[in-house]
Subunit: 294 residues, 6 copies
Amino acid sequence: MFFHKQELQYNASPAAPDVFFARKMQEILGGQYGEITVAMQYGFQAWNTKLPGKYRDLLYGIGAEEFGHVEMIAIMIAQLLEKAPAGTVEAAVKSDPVVAAVIGGEDTQHAIVAGAGARPVDSNGNPWQGSYITASGNLLADFTSNANAEMQGRLQVARIYHMTEDKGVRDMLSFLLARDTMHQNQWIAAAQELREEGYEDLPVPSNFPLSDEHRDVSYTYMNFSDGKEAAAGRWASGPTPDGKGEFSYSDGPTTTAPMPPVGNHGDPRLYGTTPEPNLLDKTMGKIKDVVQPG
Amino acid sequence: MFFHKQELQYNASPAAPDVFFARKMQEILGGQYGEITVAMQYGFQAWNTKLPGKYRDLLYGIGAEEFGHVEMIAIMIAQLLEKAPAGTVEAAVKSDPVVAAVIGGEDTQHAIVAGAGARPVDSNGNPWQGSYITASGNLLADFTSNANAEMQGRLQVARIYHMTEDKGVRDMLSFLLARDTMHQNQWIAAAQELREEGYEDLPVPSNFPLSDEHRDVSYTYMNFSDGKEAAAGRWASGPTPDGKGEFSYSDGPTTTAPMPPVGNHGDPRLYGTTPEPNLLDKTMGKIKDVVQPG
Amino acid sequence: MFFHKQELQYNASPAAPDVFFARKMQEILGGQYGEITVAMQYGFQAWNTKLPGKYRDLLYGIGAEEFGHVEMIAIMIAQLLEKAPAGTVEAAVKSDPVVAAVIGGEDTQHAIVAGAGARPVDSNGNPWQGSYITASGNLLADFTSNANAEMQGRLQVARIYHMTEDKGVRDMLSFLLARDTMHQNQWIAAAQELREEGYEDLPVPSNFPLSDEHRDVSYTYMNFSDGKEAAAGRWASGPTPDGKGEFSYSDGPTTTAPMPPVGNHGDPRLYGTTPEPNLLDKTMGKIKDVVQPG
Amino acid sequence: MFFHKQELQYNASPAAPDVFFARKMQEILGGQYGEITVAMQYGFQAWNTKLPGKYRDLLYGIGAEEFGHVEMIAIMIAQLLEKAPAGTVEAAVKSDPVVAAVIGGEDTQHAIVAGAGARPVDSNGNPWQGSYITASGNLLADFTSNANAEMQGRLQVARIYHMTEDKGVRDMLSFLLARDTMHQNQWIAAAQELREEGYEDLPVPSNFPLSDEHRDVSYTYMNFSDGKEAAAGRWASGPTPDGKGEFSYSDGPTTTAPMPPVGNHGDPRLYGTTPEPNLLDKTMGKIKDVVQPG
Amino acid sequence: MFFHKQELQYNASPAAPDVFFARKMQEILGGQYGEITVAMQYGFQAWNTKLPGKYRDLLYGIGAEEFGHVEMIAIMIAQLLEKAPAGTVEAAVKSDPVVAAVIGGEDTQHAIVAGAGARPVDSNGNPWQGSYITASGNLLADFTSNANAEMQGRLQVARIYHMTEDKGVRDMLSFLLARDTMHQNQWIAAAQELREEGYEDLPVPSNFPLSDEHRDVSYTYMNFSDGKEAAAGRWASGPTPDGKGEFSYSDGPTTTAPMPPVGNHGDPRLYGTTPEPNLLDKTMGKIKDVVQPG
Amino acid sequence: MFFHKQELQYNASPAAPDVFFARKMQEILGGQYGEITVAMQYGFQAWNTKLPGKYRDLLYGIGAEEFGHVEMIAIMIAQLLEKAPAGTVEAAVKSDPVVAAVIGGEDTQHAIVAGAGARPVDSNGNPWQGSYITASGNLLADFTSNANAEMQGRLQVARIYHMTEDKGVRDMLSFLLARDTMHQNQWIAAAQELREEGYEDLPVPSNFPLSDEHRDVSYTYMNFSDGKEAAAGRWASGPTPDGKGEFSYSDGPTTTAPMPPVGNHGDPRLYGTTPEPNLLDKTMGKIKDVVQPG
């Protein structure tokens, strides 16, 4: 169960409205790596996990915090929109080019659809969607996904930090940056602990029978481009991070196979193009036979 | 530039058609973590990077391999569909319940839309989409995303491996599993090398001015659930993976802020609901004034 | 069958082109609550209904009108785009900041994709989609959905009315506002008549056996937030609109249940994380047994 | 802020796994009218509202309950999937046709993507998306939208109730049906109270200046189909629900306007087809003049 | 304006319900090339065209017919669903494997969402979307798009024709096949007439100044694969269909250009990875300078 | 297999950055008819075809070229974004209205999400999606689709050519225009050759048994609009392009059928509205009987 408290985790009030920045802030609310994504991602991982205890607690504990971040950013956006341009452009623009840029760059749906409110979309107006989240049931894979989400998220917050000078907005972003720092560190630590405690290991999934894998190509870098510098990377020689092999380097693939023959010509009732030119009448006859036997 | 060679990297022929499995295999072709995703993701990372040399070479070298995997799986699916059910269900099902399951579980668009061919969709028929990929320009974040993609991808290949006993299909999946092993290891190694060579560090982005971050909440686990076990995790005490702090634990948030006041009542021309009951006529008057001054 | 007449229901010509307003007008054409939505929604409700007579006539009669509104708005947009910026921005902007706002705020696909034509998208360029419509087969639910659609639609038309001073555009919007007034009233009246004639009642669906519902929680407001004012609302005491109960108020849930135990550990062939640390080798053995028995 | 408690509002455990029903249950989790929709819809309405007090409390209080319903259903689905078919179809189907139907009707991503877990998608695998929600800032419109959402939601729960005989599942659905009964009644009551307290009225938005609306067509049913029965409905005569007019009936439109002339021929740089046959060379010359003046 | 007549253009009644076939038929209703697509496509082309007269008449005349086909198929689907499985699977399947296939292959939303009604989706449940249509303003391009749409559409109708033996369904499909034959022929004829009357020509757009095109590569086949047979095609030698050149063949590209240098290192406030290892502290200093000058 | 070469097919460097034009150029990269579409479309057609030889070689040979065009445009966009606005709008706009237009018109995700990089989206930020491509297995239909794609693509390139004066951008567009000229011609030639060699013919699919088609309506133009000019077109009289009939003209449909009766009243467990007013109690009784027999 979730319970709501009518307080925020941190201040979320801008010094002044700014509709163009409100649009930019939608990215960290409803974008691929916005707060809705992490809140829902940690939620689904928690609900689906078969591993009770500290890992599930972690997912629940952070997931609920992220729903609170969704709320903080939505409320911030609603305030940034308090002077959303509801009148004609001409009157609003007057002679100030900054206003022109702002008007041109607004999210038009903020006013028309939401009446000066936040929306579950990204900074280009694409609706948030369930396919943004990852919850595979394999926690090492998922914690890596979580670490990535927190990295991408912190990166985006850092970027928009520089796109405003509003002290109120920056204050909230400074708070979110710190929480993203925590969450990045946390998921990396959690992934390490999972491995140390033996729940999972590299390569994910570590308990797929390696004898069923083509081990001869498990640690070879195969270069399908004509650049030569990749041979110098750590991924081209030395022990592998999974501790089970040695990297090697091959300039090009080490295996090859012929294209399979096209095989039969397909069911004629699918009307695909097949290698039998000038045989349409005959084919037509065949189809009728299939369809209307006797 | 890309050049195509009419050979495959590995065998991609099933022992026999299987339309239900063809649908399942769509997941690793056109799903969130299918081969189209990694091919496009590494491509966009390469095209956008500002860091030439071995890292870009790596992206190009692997990206092209992945486009070849797209091809292998598409060709495999086309063969699995060679006996796609183009006739009526009744005739096909006869009395064999296995056939009934297969018919019921097919991707109907395989026959109707593609004429027994592969499609750029996942196993539920959702079209592949550009929002699946990640290419942020920050390579430590992106290599972490790549590692996650290879983990999720290998996990899915391992899962569908058990959903077929077709020796041809399994042979190809064994090859893909091995390549995913390589790529998982490779991106982890590449991320490590990036950090060791000083291009980027934790927390991503590492060069955001820490003085502009609320450092007091950068390393504290705040528990928003009522589970107590998360306090025992490595993310709740000890040094942080970024080497810049010490984890601490708080049962609940350490900060709070009041809900901001709702502020003004919004532009009346947006017709939102505001705290002025029984004042509709007056408001109507005001709006006319705004709209038709004078 | 539908027949087309090369006249419009009302004037749809702007006084002058305005590409930014053309983009805004897309919202009421191809947005969530645009004219395409209501046209298709009433159509599908009519085609699916099992209730012939005046209700189906109503759906057909209004549905066809809405397709005509789609046409009116599309033609209006095409005219607003007659001077779509096909040349470089620099030449167009010159020194007029209003032009800068207009150029910046245009829908770039109007020129590039449609050659100065309307498109089936909303004001942020999101394509119209079938998931916007509602047609459940239950007419009381659907008429409520229709009333909502007409309310949201009229609200959006009223909002964009103030975003232009073009007399031609406003004239058409004044007409659409009036028709939305009619349609709002009409669906509310139709919902009332449905109830009065006994076709359906509250709660929808009214003929689900109430004995199969947990009646003890059917009329209780349970407060999951910490605000106290909701207790004063009409939804917290007094008779319920369905005439079958009395509202009551509870500060918090009246029921609770423990989290179900996680149960078994999942099929090992799905490679989820389960509570068996340090047992990977054993697990691997088990999987091989399952996969390759004997 | 949201806080999580590791208890459920009600029991959510099936008597036995059922992967086909798990897919059906996705509809009420991640569908257009599933629990994610109402949770997010009430959240955004609360965060955006400019009307503090009991109405906002109501939105917060119910919104948090709905997030708890998301959790209940997700956990139920995860349990229904405990025997998700991770092996080959042939072995699973054996000779039981019920198993064949179940296998054929499963959501293949439940096993492949989520490792036997719930997903934020509907029963056809379409990801949940932000465009499902409505939050316009006008509470009478939005409460009508909420009433519709609860009607459609209860309808869907009632339908799937009959698609299972599992006592555990039915027990939870009986609980959800009761809560939907409450929420339907509640939003209808809240809409009535909003009107009675004078915050908003019909037609929404009620304070748009009626003098700017074409009042002559505000209350006329115009029949664009050839059915005659709609004239007998309450929407064709008598007082209108908004209390401001009288319904009338017209067999066909009461207004007409000619198609606007196509106007100018478009910017030649958009290369549209215009009424100047056989003039390509001349046009080409003109374009060069425009593009390369001088 | 559109007017509706409560008759169909042709019979649309099945001999018996068939929920699995109902799902398949969704493809020709709400799929990429279903009737909604052509109806909307011809509509938008008509509304946007700057060429009045017979071509616009054609678009209007056919467009309205297609809306009638949408209706026919929707009504057919609703009848096919008259026995949609609303009860439990087990009872329905009994011992008939054909029923198992049908149940497994149903569109679950037909019953749960639409109450045994048609939906604006394809046979995999993907909602119809505005991005399926083409309306560019250039009629030669668009008529080619229309010809393609009618070809793909007729192909799909032909395919599903064989997937049923229901005489009523086949009767309607036979009618639609004939109309698709007409429409294929018609768009090809219309494209020819456009060219003959000089409105447009190949290559589209024909009046782009050819001197601004790199004419040296306008007619050369460049082979980027290692197959050699394409050199034998009509596209590799002889006159070109636009009548303005001669095809030639090159095994590989005829031009090449070096990768552009990566250029500057990007704005540090975007935190991309740039070629300056071990310089993080210095960079951090720079960023602060940019952000907080003075 | 695909191999990558770190060269481009042609120069792809702008004279100067231009973030607004970068957004426009996204259309020809990730739009409905952008380079990703043709690259993937030709790829899937090649992988699925059952016709080896010159036609498949053609698909492979051109498909790989198009992947190279994807790369060229992505790299061009990345360079156009080298001065993406990472700081505040106010500082950037200064007093230059051109800058205001550019800032207002940017794709905000270019900076926030991609760190000044290209993205797999169109010029309105909609992600590229698999439903843009066509690969039916019938090569005459698909080559027509390809011809259309190249026409639409060349049209869009021609349009954006006029939206910039940057010599570097125009140089690349001139190259792409020439390649589109080639590909338009090529697919038209390939379609002709397919017909001449007897692989397929009009109407597609040509080998559907014509006796199963309602031939009486196969060549009649039926006018569903009130325009009269379409009767004068080539599609209304004379021989048909498929060589199998004569066009005729009918002002309106030549056939009609009554609406089918609504039939039974639906399964009561779907709770649809049916023609049985005031019978709710009785119905409820019936439902209980069905659900809980005995």
